[in-house]
């Protein structure tokens, strides 16, 4: 089950129907709370896609309240069980988002023109493994190990760490980028 949440609609429905800018910390907190409520109401979907395309301006406070705190909630042991995916992130949103990801040592998956991209704090090896899953996936660990010419155990460790960080999901014994076609090759 997937859920698409348009942040612009949430902003106007939650805070003020005249706003198109995600600025100020109370606004960000109100929007995040509304998003979390939707996720709970629908019964924790497997993948929740947060769409920023209707958001004009995003400041650091809102990026922290919405993006960082939402990811931190998903990283909690008692947090939601699914995966969160972002889309509609403009060039101008990137600076505040990357700043808060760095501050909290977080990473996220965002769709750009239908292609998944990884943002935030990951090691170079983790990025290579994640990109291999994106480019060839859904895939088994052995396929990634062969593609990157690394030991299977090493590939499994990297992939499992990415799964724990909700940057990859398990699918039929293999790995897939959240939101990608759920078929294992």
């Amino acid at each position: 089950m997937t859920l698409l949440i348009d942040v612009g609609t949430v902003l106007r429905g939650t805070v003020c129907d005249l706003y198109s800018n995600l600025v100020t910390r109370p606004t960000g907190a109100a929007v995040r709370t509304a998003i979390e409520r939707q996720v709970v109401e629908i019964g924790t979907p497997v993948v929740t896609t947060i769409d920023f395309s209707q958001v004009n301006l995003l400041d650091f406070s809102c990026a922290d309240e919405i993006v960082a705190k939402l990811l931190l909630r998903y990283a909690d042991a008692d947090g939601p069980t699914g995966y969160v995916l972002f889309r509609g992130i403009h060039e101008e949103h990137l600076d505040p988002i990357e700043t808060v990801l760095e501050r909290h040592s977080l990473a996220l998956v965002a769709l750009h023109d239908g292609v998944a991209e990884l943002y935030g704090v990951v090691t170079e090896d983790e990025r290579l493994h994640w990109e291999a899953v994106r480019d060839f996936g859904p895939v088994y660990a052995v396929t990634v190990a062969e593609a990157l010419n690394v030991e299977l155990l090493v590939a499994e460790q990297h992939l499992d760490r990415l799964r724990q960080r909700r940057l990859l999901m398990r699918h039929l014994g293999g790995f897939a980028v959240p939101g990608s076609i759920p078929e294992v090759t």
Partner: protein
């Protein structure tokens, strides 16, 4: 007896120190006249800071309006007198308030008290900011969003830390003496508690022997400290973001709070990085200056040159 505080003919972030130097030693309860009769020009910082002067004491001060009709008219169009009339006892001829139609006024003086005010100013300036920053100052279109972010985070500092309302104004003008090119300036001023008291209110704050306004400014501006940081690692990113913004666009950031002032200076300026032991003025006064981008490289700061005078054409 009434103590007269003279407003310099050209009032900006640097010359405002002369106002504070005169004001600081005046005992509480004294009658004060803020005399702007001979003022000819004021930056957005100067005008917003003058409103903070009135808020810095409980006793209502008197304000003598600039005698030059062009100056008074400009101050009126920037929204100064509308707010000053609520804070000062006004003396002199106050021109009738008209809307600011000049293209260089991005945002007339606006009070910031609550979160909605921040939404208001950010929403109001967006199109005009794009026109001026990209169209007139030749800056890349990418600056527009970052400029809005900077404005938002600066104003939020008032809502979250000042303990009382403050003021914001945004204007473009020609910065002749230092740069010889146009700049856009954000001024955000309040007469609230200031950085030192704000950080002291944090449960995790540890007082040291060296703790003073200067150290509080360094913590907030350079080390992203925040009174909310205790228990919320995401706090304190606003000023860090503003610092990155001015760095990217060869701009300048100055923040004055209490008895100290910090400056993040670009290659074209030579301001003191940190100034201590200034005369006390309550609250926080911040200025962001972004210069026009043209083909020529920005001029280097000249050794020995004054950082003070700047002009604009009325």
């Amino acid at each position: 007896m009434t103590i007269v505080i003279s407003v310099p003919p050209s009032l900006d972030e640097q010359s405002f120190e002369h106002v504070i130097e005169q004001l600081a030693p005046v005992p509480l309860g004294e009658k004060i006249l803020v005399d702007a009769r001979h003022a000819r020009w004021a930056s957005p910082f100067g005008l917003t800071a003058l409103l903070c002067v009135a808020q810095s004491r409980e006793d209502r001060m008197t304000f003598a309006v600039p005698e030059n009709p062009d100056t008074a008219s400009y101050w009126s169009r920037s929204g100064f007198f509308r707010h000053a009339a609520e804070l000062y006892e006004m003396h002199g001829t106050v021109p009738r308030q008209r809307d600011a139609h000049e293209s260089e006024v991005l945002l007339e003086i606006t009070p910031i008290v609550q979160t909605d005010d921040v939404h208001g100013v950010v929403g109001r300036i967006q199109q005009k900011a794009a026109d001026i920053l990209h169209g007139q100052l030749g800056l890349d279109t990418a600056i527009t969003g970052a400029f809005g972010m900077t404005l938002s985070e600066s104003c939020q500092n008032i809502v979250e830390h000042a303990g009382q309302g403050g003021w914001v104004a945004v204007q473009a003008y020609k910065y002749i003496k230092r740069l010889g090119r146009r700049v856009v300036v954000i001024a955000v001023c309040d007469a609230g508690v200031g950085f030192r008291a704000s950080l002291e209110s944090s449960p995790g704050h540890r007082m040291s022997d060296r703790w003073d306004d200067a150290m509080a400014l360094e913590d907030a501006v350079l080390r992203a400290a925040s009174r909310f940081r205790h228990g919320d690692a995401g706090r304190g990113q606003g000023l860090a973001g503003i610092r990155r913004f001015v760095g990217r666009w060869h701009g300048k950031l100055t923040v004055r709070s209490g008895t100290a002032r910090i400056a993040i200076t670009p290659e074209w300026d030579e301001d003191e990085a940190l100034t201590r032991s200034l005369p006390f003025f309550p609250g926080t006064q911040m200025q962001v200056t972004i210069p026009e981008r043209i083909g020529d490289p920005l001029p280097k700061a000249r050794t020995g040159a004054s950082t003070r005078p700047r002009e604009r054409s009325l």
